[in-house]
């Protein structure tokens, strides 16, 4: 059991409301926000979506953003949700300057990029969009608005579990004494890019989604943003604030089964839930409500049902998926749903699983709503591509918890961390020994970046004498650039039909970490950060924290990026910066054991 982390503020924007109060009312009145497409300019108007009910310009006006200030839909929604969060926590200007901001997004500025992608080489105005395209700079736009220290911004990019992982990283920063106050969460706008991507995977329902229903056909895409303020006990006392709730436990595990599908027995989900319960000290039979990942795809709901049965047996708590209200808000869903759980806790009700009618043959039975029930402990699940599965346990705050926190903080001894092996791949050099690590049939879909990431990582692990690492940490500036570019070329050039599912499923930033977990059969902690040039710093810090806390004994850490000719030319024109065409990979193995160490990694320096 570990000490709780205190949640002292929260904010949300989603298809069912532009703030907490509106979201609460929609939940209580069972009003879904999934509707006909209104803001997204896509050919696929037949697909229902959960859009935030503001245009970009309306959000700009609400935030008083000057016309020349860059922003994208993800940053605009994120900034609005942050505003509510900061106000509720009562954070001062000084506190804003010194806190850490961790935001989850995978889409970043793709909404503007896809609108002017083909014009970028010729049109300087279009090219400017590239400066705020990447996920890291989208988080920076939000941090700058509030005068936060941009050197303390981190962006997690683990697809649909990004925001939950932001909360996990933030909590570990507090437990290792590296932060007192962290704002964590996520923001994600709907784009044509991922709407079409999910469409190529044939997992979008053409009607209102029906999570856990026998007749479910897929998910409805949603968008939104939500953040929470996480604090240490010392900070809660110093500021004299009363926490809204506590984060009692969290688990992050990897399914290590498939890039886009969950395993039939839900191994990753099961491990994440078990880890979260163990940390919280709450027994499974004390959990009264589970906010399920419940996307409404045949695969997720059946796999999650299997995992829930493994955790709860026949004593299943109330379970619902609120994606039937908001649509699937992808990278934001972790905190969108955590904030919904906090509302449920505060007002003692279980949100309904809208649209459910038919019992799944192999599934759990969700609740159709419970307007009044005793809730003390809630579980909130978020699972993503790459098998990135995370689970959170949220509970009520009581004052005695502060004492426990003090004792645990005093007792805690952080372990030293060592770098045992490093392996590099430079752009332009051939990858010669791929067949040492993977069969040609298995490598046929891998782009060059995945190959350089695999070879450098496996080489580092071999040098360190480790077969399966305890955790996998990947940093990347721009992610899977070549596949994203190919998908954009198809979509912007040929239209929104017959696009390649392979390009899309290997376009998410966490493809690398997911692939490494598959190859090493690593079910442990798995994360991807994307924070420009600081991406490697973020992963080293996160890996070192977990080793220092004793959660892992070793970690595979890496930073992997690629550049195409087109990207090279665009970036050079925009910034004067050279991004050599090809792949660059650095893989490292960190350990708690000093044997054969190259040097010590000092956490916090």
């Amino acid at each position: 059991m570990e000490e709780p982390i205190y949640i002292t503020g929260s904010g949300i924007i989603s298809a069912i409301g532009n703030n907490k109060e509106e979201v609460l009312q929609s939940l209580l009145q069972e009003k879904s926000g999934v509707a006909e497409m209104r803001y997204l300019q896509s050919e696929h108007t037949e697909l229902p979506v959960g859009e935030v009910k503001y245009s970009d310009q309306e959000m700009r006006d609400l935030l008083n953003l000057p016309a020349d200030k860059p922003a994208n839909r993800t940053s605009l929604m994120g900034t609005l949700a942050l505003k509510e969060t900061i106000a509720e926590a009562g954070l001062t200007e000084e506190e804003l300057k010194s806190l850490t901001f961790i935001s989850g997004t995978t889409v970043g500025g793709m909404d503007y990029t896809e609108r002017c992608f083909l014009q970028m080489p010729e049109d300087d105005e279009a090219l400017k969009v590239l400066a705020t395209h990447d996920c890291g700079s989208t988080s920076l736009l939000q941090a700058e608005y509030f005068g936060m220290d941009t050197s303390k911004v981190m962006t997690t990019s683990t697809a649909c579990s990004s925001a939950a992982n932001a909360m996990i990283v933030g909590s570990n920063l507090i437990k290792t004494g590296q932060a007192d106050i962290v704002i964590a969460g996520g923001s994600e706008a709907i784009t044509k890019f991922h709407l079409n991507g999910f469409n190529t995977l044939m997992i979008l329902d053409h009607e209102q989604c029906r999570p856990f229903d026998e007749t479910r056909k897929g998910l409805n895409l949603g968008e939104g943003a939500a953040y929470v303020v996480l604090e240490s006990a010392a900070s809660v006392r110093r500021r004299g604030v009363k926490p809204l709730a506590v984060l009692l436990g969290y688990g992050n595990a990897c399914d290590a089964f498939h890039q886009t599908a969950s395993s039939p027995d839900g191994e990753g989900a099961y491990l994440a839930m078990e880890d979260a319960l163990k940390m919280s000290g709450v027994s499974a039979d004390s959990i009264q409500y589970v906010n399920a990942h419940g996307t409404g795809t045949p695969n997720n709901d059946s796999s999650e049902s299997a995992a829930l049965r493994r955790v709860f047996g026949d004593a299943m708590p109330l379970v619902s998926s609120t994606k039937s209200y908001t649509g699937h808000t992808t990278s934001a869903s972790g905190t969108v749903e955590a904030v919904i759980c906090m509302l449920a806790l505060q007002h003692q009700f279980a949100p309904a699983n809208l649209g459910w009618k038919n019992q799944m043959s192999d599934g759990i039975t969700p609740t159709v709503g419970n307007p009044s029930c005793q809730l003390d402990y809630i579980m909130c699940n978020s699972f993503g591509f790459g098998g990135n599965d995370s689970s959170l346990i949220i509970g009520k705050y009581d004052e005695s918890q502060l004492q426990l926190s003090d004792e645990m903080m005093q007792k805690r001894q952080l372990r030293k961390v060592y770098v045992r092996a490093i392996s590099k791949h430079e752009p332009g050099t051939p990858i010669t020994n791929l067949s040492d690590f993977i069969k040609p049939m298995e490598a046929r879909r891998m782009c060059a970046l995945l190959k350089s990431a695999l070879v450098s990582s496996m080489t580092a692990l071999r040098e360190a004498g480790i077969e399966c690492p305890d955790g996998i940490f990947v940093g990347t500036k721009f992610g899977m650039l070549s596949n994203s570019e190919k998908f954009l070329v198809q979509m912007c050039g040929e239209g929104e039909h017959t696009l390649s599912p392979t390009f899309f499923m290997q376009s998410t930033h966490n493809t690398i970490a997911g692939m490494l977990a598959l190859r090493t059969k690593c079910h442990g902690y798995n994360i991807t950060f994307t924070q420009g040039k600081k991406s490697l710093d973020c992963v080293l810090k996160d890996a070192a924290m977990q080793i220092a806390l004793g959660k892992l004994d070793n970690a595979l850490v890496g930073s992997h990026d690629e550049s195409t000719q087109m990207f090279h030319d665009l970036l050079l024109k925009l910034t004067g910066e050279e991004a050599p065409v090809g792949e660059s990979s650095v893989a490292m193995v960190l350990t708690a054991d000093p044997t054969d160490a190259l040097y010590e990694y000092e956490l916090g320096k």
């Binding site: 995977l201 040609p440 599912p501």
Partner: protein, 86 residues
């Protein structure tokens, strides 16, 4: 039919990046999926759904339909011959 089968094999090899495989290596009756045949997986199935829409104008609504249609080259060619719109 022979012509369609050869063309189909070449298209499959290209779209699925089966670099070391030639059309002659693919048995017309062997299963395309699973360990006993070519060893394709669920993502390949999605690529094949795109392929038959793009090249033959056949649109599948449910990925489960692919299971029957993509059993073997012979079954696939037969289905395409009967249903193609271009």
């Amino acid at each position: 039919m022979e012509e369609l089968i050869l063309k189909l094999k070449q298209e499959i090899i290209e779209v699925l990046n089966l670099e070391d495989i030639t059309p002659e290596d693919i048995d017309n009756d062997a299963p395309l999926f699973g360990e006993d045949g070519l060893g394709l997986d669920s993502i390949d199935a999605l690529e094949l759904i795109v392929l038959i829409e793009k090249n033959y104008g056949i649109k599948l609504k449910d990925p489960a339909e692919g299971k029957e249609i993509f059993k073997s080259i012979n079954v696939m060619a037969d289905y395409i011959a009967k249903n193609k719109t271009k």
